[in-house]
Point group: C2
Chain length 284, copies 2
Amino acid sequence: MAQVGFIGLGVMGAPMAGHLLRAGHEVTVWNRTASKAEPLVSVGARPAADPAAVAAASDIVMICVSRQEDMLEMVDRLSPGLRGDAIVVDHSTTTPAAALGAARRVPAFIDAPMTGGSMGAQAGTLTLFCGGSLEHFAVVEPVLAAYAKRVVHVGSQAAGQRMKLANQIAVGGALIGLCEALAFAEKAGLDLELTRELLNTGAAGSWAFTHYGPKIVNRDWSPGFSIDNQTKDFVYCQQEASELGMALPGTEVVQGLLTEMQAAGRGAETTAALFEWLLKESAS
Amino acid sequence: MAQVGFIGLGVMGAPMAGHLLRAGHEVTVWNRTASKAEPLVSVGARPAADPAAVAAASDIVMICVSRQEDMLEMVDRLSPGLRGDAIVVDHSTTTPAAALGAARRVPAFIDAPMTGGSMGAQAGTLTLFCGGSLEHFAVVEPVLAAYAKRVVHVGSQAAGQRMKLANQIAVGGALIGLCEALAFAEKAGLDLELTRELLNTGAAGSWAFTHYGPKIVNRDWSPGFSIDNQTKDFVYCQQEASELGMALPGTEVVQGLLTEMQAAGRGAETTAALFEWLLKESAS
């Protein structure tokens, strides 16, 4: 069993740290809002005063925050306490440039963004895209298995983030396909549940139709994955595409629509609410 | 068993008529290029001299052509021979307006566009979206089952076409998501087959990733569903959206890119070739 630190105990991090405890690891935790650590401390996690104290108690330190500027701040704040042979694993979604920036500060760095959402974190069935050296990967892989069904080495440092951004681009396409098709069906007077079910059985079928389609039929805009989170990731996609000298014309359209929804105060809703936005747009 | 006519013996129609024969129906056929009828005639189909002669020999007349102007021409040409209680079923993809136009000429009309592609036609596992009266639907349903795994009544006349266009809109979104994500991955230096496999297991997963993804990895641009066919359907989608007073911003982007590819002489390739176009665009 390992000494593991966990920084960032939000909707993803808290259940992930819980899985580490249940797997028998010694887990030291810190969160900006300290009260979020309490449920974990009550089941055996050790509270730390600051990120450096987490690092001082750990062979592997996980970071799980939202924005890349927060991730970079955590790397700065934990590094004074870092043990000589410790490895830092970042689960946040960031640009590849931010991952490489963190790796300059902490060379034993693995970027390990995840898919599977809050339900995957709770069930311990996340998929992790890991970028870093194979040597470091071999050390952390069995520990990460506590909350992931798949822990995949996809390349050197920053490759995990590149894979995650590719994933978000594909998610955006599936989202506009789903929302635009169902908005069209609604305007055309088709039965929405029949449309969702029929289209999902053929060449238009997708995870989005299966999981977001029913939310649209029921007009349930609770997240899920929020518009705020999706647009944050799209900004990172565009930054990296610009580095690579390429355009992302499909992503641009979805990003533009979701950004309009944010401006209208709907950023906390699920991305599937785009369906309603397309209907409203057409009514105006 | 019924007396069935079949007009249009292309890559879809020929195997569909074959299934009708094997189901024991009396099948009369006609095709603009007469030689395409020969293989069916050799296994028991009756050749007709023109569409009116097909209608004169049939209780149910199927039409299966590409463009809606061809469908409307066939309706015109068959109607002089049509029996009093005969039903016309159109499997082409058209605008809802064209279906309603055909139904004015031939009131016992069912629009029944299909999904499942040439492989579905050969295997007899198509899905049919049927618009028309329930009374007519009840008559044709058991006959259509000869080549379809699902024959679904989705509403009154033209509703089948509306469902098919909704399907094509969703297919377009899935396509841009797939091609843009894999083009990004390629530019970012990720392993393309690993990317395809990993993304398909999560929230980005789709029929497109499963079936078109491997073609992209192998740079195999043989259709599949061609860019020419997809852009034809997108024109119909936009015409109907305009009737409904709504915009299709995602479809517009995919349509624009595929239309550029047509202009570059790539219309006969599979839609998945969009991957290569996005890479070329970024190189220019």
